[in-house]
């Protein structure tokens, strides 16, 4: 009788545990799905979703499925905070993976800190996100940083036969930080470089003519821009019309992913072929690892796009780090997962990446290259395209 009772009690106790194991792990993703930033937010969310679908098809993690709940953050810090709170309070998400702009990332980081929930940022680059005074146990980043990007550009520009350099960037966290990283580093590695002009249009400027005229009046030999995404299309169309690229003999580097396939594709023949650009990914990166080529084939199929977006990989890697950390922690508890993320190395489609213990930052670099036109594609590509390993730039 006692044995029967014990069994019964044990069975009853086991029931909720079994039910718990069946419950999906919920991940909230605040990311821009409207406005100009949707161009990156949407594919990044699709990349995350593809990872989740693939993982769930293989049984999920710790025997539990992952449920990804995506919300439009409208590329606005206040809205990103609002939807993050809603995801935590109403949807009871266990983790946050998301945000895109350098305004949204630090804002959502504060929410993660308040709620003690792990937050992985796949795209915002501002150094401030993981700066010593802002760092807390729950924030992590798998994007490049403004330091990494600015210094990578400085190394490339330092090899050009130029000394008079001008910069143009949007006047907000990302633009200021990446420009400062570039200027500080190039002065260190090539002291002969003189910064002859700096232009600071407002974020989202539509008319660059006055800025370009003012910059060209100082006769620079090279220009470093971090006008990103769709804004680069507008900027470079106006710059091309004014003869800016010819005047500086195409000694131009477009940070903020001006070399991404989606940007060159949308501009077609209007792209200023011959400039340098960067990108998180390139489907035409044929010299990449088998893992990357396999990823490219899968994402191409998933997005039903022959030339898939370069932004999907960031959502994919963000989810991949989270799932691997859950596996390592053997728990979906944020306390344990945040500890598991420290020093975690993951074999991503972009190579082996490690989140550093000291600043919660992955050594994520970007692809760089000079653009050219090949008959194979109806738009410019970066060739040769080189992955700049950021490890040496990170301190």
């Amino acid at each position: 009788m006692t044995r029967l009772l014990t069994l019964l009690v044990a069975a009853l106790l086991a029931l909720p545990a079994a039910a718990e194991a069946q419950k999906p792990i919920k991940v909230g993703m605040p990311i821009p799905l409207s406005g100009p930033a949707a161009l990156f937010g949407e594919p990044a969310s699709k990349g995350a979703q593809m990872y989740v679908d693939e993982l769930n098809a293989k049984g999920g993690v710790l025997g539990r499925k992952i449920e990804l709940i995506i919300r439009d953050s409208k590329a606005d810090a206040n809205e990103a905070v609002r939807v993050s709170r809603e995801l935590i309070l109403k949807e009871n998400v266990d983790f946050l993976v998301g945000t895109l702009t350098s305004a949204e990332g630090p804002a959502v980081s504060v929410v993660a800190k308040e709620n003690k929930i792990v937050f992985i940022a796949p795209i915002p680059k501002t150094d401030q996100l993981t700066a010593a005074d802002k760092l807390h146990p729950y924030v992590f980043r798998v994007a490049a940083t403004t330091t990494i990007e600015g210094r990578s550009a400085a190394e490339i520009v330092s090899k050009w036969p130029v000394t008079k350099v001008a910069t143009i960037a949007f006047d907000y966290a990302y633009g200021q930080d990446v420009t400062k990283a570039f200027v500080d580093y190039i002065k260190k590695i090539k002291p002969s470089v003189e910064i002859v002009d700096q232009q600071w249009p407002k974020l989202g400027e539509q008319d660059y003519n006055p800025f370009i005229n003012a910059m060209m009046a100082k006769k620079p030999e090279a220009i470093v821009s971090s006008i990103w995404g769709g804004f680069f299309v507008t900027f470079s169309k106006q710059a091309k019309a004014l003869g800016m690229f010819d005047a500086i003999k195409f000694n131009f580097i477009g940070l903020g992913e001006a070399g991404s396939p989606e940007t060159t594709k949308s501009m077609g023949a209007d792209y200023p072929v011959g400039i340098w650009g960067n990108s998180y990914d390139a489907f035409y990166w044929d010299e990449s690892s088998p893992a990357h080529r396999d990823y490219t084939a899968r994402i191409s199929k998933y997005l039903k796009d022959e030339y898939p977006s370069s932004w999907a990989i960031q959502g994919y890697i963000g989810m991949q780090f989270l799932a691997e950390a859950i596996k390592k922690a053997n728990s979906a508890d944020s306390e344990k997962v945040s500890k598991a993320l420290l020093g975690l190395t993951v074999d991503t489609p972009a190579g082996k990446l490690t989140i550093r213990e000291k600043d919660h930052q992955a050594n994520r670099g970007q692809l760089y290259g000079k653009t050219l036109k090949e008959a194979k594609y109806p738009f410019a590509i970066m060739k040769p395209v080189t992955y700049v390993d950021p490890t040496k730039f990170m301190d």
Partner: protein, 304 residues
């Protein structure tokens, strides 16, 4: 930032001033094209159409779409621009007939909410049709080059826009002053009831004005495509700029809009020399100053 060179090192020379003022003029004429439609609709219908920026965006997308259908021939850009403007005008007519007409005489808050709802609905519709990927159109073949004047590079397309602005302004002025429809429009702006009592079909007149205003918005959007990316959200940027222009010039005043656009363009162009990081500040400061001194705008007249 350590490396910002002092602005005092640089003495602007003639070619720079010339280039900068032409930049300002180009921006001004684009804005005039868009703001004139906004101002015209407000002047006659007394409705501040927030969806005007969305008509501009739809003009840009429609031009892109028509170019995809026509291919890149020598005249395809021009046909597309015209087709896009006509398409947007037609849409404006439908919206006015089916929806706007129910709002005349209602509280302004309803009109505002309604036009704002239109912004959201049409914006989402555009996203459904064209997606979130940025689109781009080339400059038309004949105008892809540039000319060097006084040491400054001036794109032909910019010159075309600079000439188009005054041409449209004069054409409008002539039509408003010299034609029967123009006289009726001016009369409707002053006193709708009396005009109706005199047997004029005011509803048809209103539809006509709305169609014309939408046409200008759509044309502005189509013609800007060689200069800007076509992206979701381009509507909200431009409506703010157009709004500033008509506030400075005077809501409903035709030449006021022209003057407001000219001032806007030049202040923005030269503002960056004095306030390199606050170019947008100068324009809003100017708007605030105008609102304090002349709340009805430079060439506007006080509302009754």
């Amino acid at each position: 930032m350590t490396a910002r060179p002092s602005p005092h090192h640089f003495v602007p020379d003639l070619s720079f001033v010339f280039a900068q003022s032409l930049s300002g003029l180009t921006a001004a004429m684009f804005l005039f094209l868009i703001a004139s439609g906004l101002s015209l609709i407000f002047g006659v219908l007394r409705v501040l159409n927030f969806a005007h920026g969305t008509f501009y965006m739809l003009g840009a997308y429609a031009a892109y779409q028509i170019v995809q259908w026509l291919g890149t021939g020598p005249v395809s850009f021009w046909l597309s621009a015209l087709g896009a403007a006509l398409g947007v005008a037609l849409l404006g007519g439908i919206v006015e007939r089916l929806l706007f007409q129910r709002l005349y005489g209602k509280e302004e808050l309803y009109q505002l909410l309604f036009t704002y709802a239109l912004v959201l609905i049409l914006g989402d519709a555009a996203k459904l049709i064209w997606g979130t990927q940025q689109k781009s159109l080339s400059r038309p073949p004949g105008l892809s080059g540039a000319v060097t004047m006084l040491g400054a590079t001036i794109p032909y397309y910019n010159l075309f826009i600079i000439l188009l602005g005054p041409a449209i302004a004069l054409g409008f002025w002539f039509a408003l002053q010299r034609t029967r429809a123009g006289r009726l429009i001016r009369a409707a702006a002053l006193d709708r009831e009396t005009l109706g009592a005199l047997g004029v079909n005011v509803n048809a007149l209103y539809t006509g004005v709305f169609v014309l205003g939408s046409f200008l918005g759509g044309l502005g959007g189509a013609l800007i495509t060689p200069m800007r990316a076509i992206v979701p959200g381009m509507d909200t940027d431009v409506i703010v700029e157009a709004f500033v222009v008509v506030v400075i010039g005077g809501l409903g005043s035709f030449w006021g809009t022209f003057l407001g656009a000219l001032i806007y363009g030049q202040v923005l162009s030269f503002g960056i020399l004095f306030f390199p990081r606050f170019s947008i500040f100068s324009i809003f400061a100017l708007m605030a100053a105008v609102l304090i001194v002349r709340p009805w705008g430079l060439l506007g007249r006080p509302l009754r």
